[in-house]
Symmetry: C2
Subunit: 113 residues, 2 copies
DNA sequence: CGGTATCCGGCCGGATACTG
DNA sequence: CAGTATCCGGCCGGATACCG
């Protein structure tokens, strides 16, 4: 259970899956689409998701090389929950930020210079 | 957006929220319910969730002390998505484990002794 | 283009000890 | 009971260099 949750728990996984929502993307497209991810983390994330059977990796033997990533049916089933989470995050972003500001304002810091 | 996702991304947050699904729990009950979590991580997780306004922390001035945690309305809205994720994880646990085994069996290790 | 390989600083989180 | 404080090892992930 924890091992499955840690799959979802990886924020990069969620973002990558979200990008593959309705189209196949190649590596460089994903790299540009998921802002802030390093090439290393994108590679590791994709390998993990491929290993879990959530997406397929297709190598086209061409010059220059081209690798396409697409969701599997299993990945598509997760997409629904992921999209729901994304919508929740978007819908309550402001409210959460307000809560944080209020909390930080009322709960005085314990360390004093 | 990333900051919101990292809130969900914390596996402990998901598990704690799931435990508060239909009842208030005190600290020690949560500690027992969420298997594997250390006292430190439980405290940190609860503070984070309280700061974001997803749960309330109620201190009862008694001896021995007693602290209850309960979801806020905002926390309850997240609960739906969290439950969906949990159900997805449960439903596809076996399938994912099979995929991992198959992947590990076919993709030979790159390091050879 | 789409990766590996390697180095390494930071912080995550467990263990332990102490307190109101 | 429900925390805080402190230490510290491990691994996460960025930066960089190189390859098919």
């Amino acid at each position: 259970m924890l091992q499955i949750l840690s799959l979802i728990g990886d924020k990069w996984s969620i973002l990558v899956i979200g990008q593959l929502r309705d189209r196949t993307l190649r590596f460089s497209e994903l790299h540009r689409a998921v802002k802030g991810i390093s090439q290393r983390m994108l590679t590791l994330t994709l390998r993990q998701l491929e290993r879990d059977g959530l997406l397929t990796r297709t190598v086209h033997p061409s010059v220059p090389p081209r690798v396409d990533y697409a969701l599997t049916p299993l990945g598509a089933t997760l997409l629904d929950s992921v999209v729901a989470l994304g919508e929740w995050a978007t819908a309550h972003r402001q409210e959460i930020n307000d809560n944080r500001r209020r909390y930080d304002a009322t709960h005085v810091p314990r360390t004093r210079p």
